[in-house]
């Protein structure tokens, strides 16, 4: 059973090894010629500042975004087994899923109509 995962573990090991190798070797083989341009913030970026204007706090609006993310994440999790077993589940499986998606969509409609998705 676990042998199925051997290639994945191998790939992980390979990826980790490559990352480690790159980090470890780069300082020795890479040329180091610093200049002002390399130390600048990237195009359209700004110089990092210590504290954002609001004293280190995120606006509470992100909470709404995160909550919506979770709601739809969970919906997807339920969709997945349904999709895999769709042949066996038949029409009532579809009905059950439609009812579920319908209820979750209510939440979305509410959020949208009450302006929860507008940013400013």
């Amino acid at each position: 059973m676990l042998s199925t995962y051997v290639p994945i573990v191998g790939l992980f090991a390979l990826a980790a090894a490559f990352a480690l190798f790159s980090v470890a070797v780069a300082p020795f083989v890479g040329p180091r010629r610093y200049n002002r341009a390399k130390l600048d913030a990237y195009e359209c970026g700004i110089e990092p500042v210590d504290q954002p204007l609001t004293g280190g706090r995120f606006p509470v609006k992100y909470y709404l975004t995160a909550m919506l993310f979770i709601v739809f994440d969970i919906e997807i999790v339920f969709l997945y087994p349904w999709a895999v077993a769709n042949d066996a589940l038949g029409v009532w499986g579809l009905v059950a899923m439609v009812v579920f998606i319908g209820t979750v969509f209510l939440a979305f409609a509410y959020e949208w109509r009450r302006g929860g998705l507008e940013w400013d």
Binding site: M1, L2, S3, R33, Y34, N35, R36, A37, K38, D40, A41, Y42, E43, C44, G45, I46, E47, L53, G55, G56, R57, P59, V60, K61, Y62, Y63, L64, T65, A66, M67, L68, F69, I70, V71, D73, I74, E75, I76, V77, F78, Y80, P81, W82, V84, A85, A88, L89, A96, V99, F100, T103, V104, L106, A107, F108, Y110, E111, R114, G115, G116
Partner: protein, 285 residues
């Protein structure tokens, strides 16, 4: 811990993974409780959750493992971190005890509870035969079908009602989040695109503001644009950002004057020119 069995023999791979990741999961849990910094706590928790995800996969429940990683380490942890950032990364717990002896009592009771449940579980599972998941997850078409089908077979039959009612839970969660965080705008207090554009054409400046002075010589959006005479274009200051004096790169006039291409891109010397816009003096003109 890993009993020898009637049904299924636990493979070496599984045992090895358990003994490696078990301590890791435990360390993550301890780290979460003991960290002073809330963000560190959250990251420790991620470690524990990832280890648990691997455990599920190893115990032949790959779907559960994937869900653990996607929902818990993905969504839930994002929410945790957001909430930590909302509260403020630097705000720390008050260490004042409002009830005297509370902490000691909590420690003692917590340790007692852990010992009780731990001992109980250890005793109850001591000589338990191990059934492979194949025997447990009946579901579709018997033991040969996969984990996901087995989950679907239960979720959409025995637990169909629970599944549908979860929808109600999700609605309450979304409604509650909006209710507590979103201050509704008064109707009519927001201008439409049309009104905004009308208002703009009534001003002296119908066109857009000039962009920041971003070009190949200064990469920050904080660099103001320059007018032809070298003055700063005040319209181009980005909102909320202090305009910065950016050291301009020397103007290349020829390879022989500048030496290597790297030297042409400026020095690490922090001296800024005092000319507006950071133009260096005359020698390159």
């Amino acid at each position: 811990m890993t009993p020898e069995t009637a049904g299924v023999v636990i493979g070496t791979g599984e045992a090895v993974i358990f003994w490696i990741l078990g301590p890791v999961a435990l360390a993550g849990a301890l780290g979460m409780v003991l960290s002073r910094n809330a963000v560190h706590s959250a990251l420790w928790l991620v470690l524990t959750m990832l280890s648990l995800g691997v455990f599920y996969v190893v115990q032949e429940a790959p779907f559960l493992g994937a869900v653990q990683v996607i929902v818990y380490t993905g969504a839930i942890m994002i929410l945790f971190l957001f909430v930590l950032m909302l509260v403020g990364r630097d705000s720390s717990d008050s260490v004042v005890e409002t009830l005297r002896g509370q902490r000691v009592a909590a420690l003692a009771l917590g340790a007692g509870f852990a010992a009780l449940v731990g001992a109980g579980i250890a005793r109850a599972t001591q000589d338990l035969p191990v059934l492979g998941l194949e025997q447990v997850q009946g579901g579709v078409g018997g033991p040969s079908s996969g984990n996901v089908e087995a989950v679907a077979g239960l979720l959409y039959t025995r637990y169909l009602l629970a599944f549908e009612v979860t929808g109600a839970l999700l609605i309450v969660a979304a409604v509650g989040a909006l209710l507590l965080t979103h201050v509704e705008r008064e109707p009519g207090s927001r201008q439409t695109q049309k009104e905004l554009s009308r208002a703009r054409f009534l001003t002296d400046r119908p066109q857009t503001l000039p962009g920041p002075g971003v070009h190949a010589r200064a990469t920050s959006v904080a660099a103001p644009a320059l007018l032809p005479d070298g003055r700063l274009a005040e319209d181009s200051f980005a909102t909320g950002i202090e305009p910065e004096q950016v050291e301009q790169m020397p103007r290349p006039t020829g390879r022989e004057q500048l030496g290597s291409p790297d030297a042409a891109l400026g020095s690490l010397d922090p001296t800024l020119s005092d000319t507006p816009g950071g133009r260096t003096g005359g020698e390159h003109r």
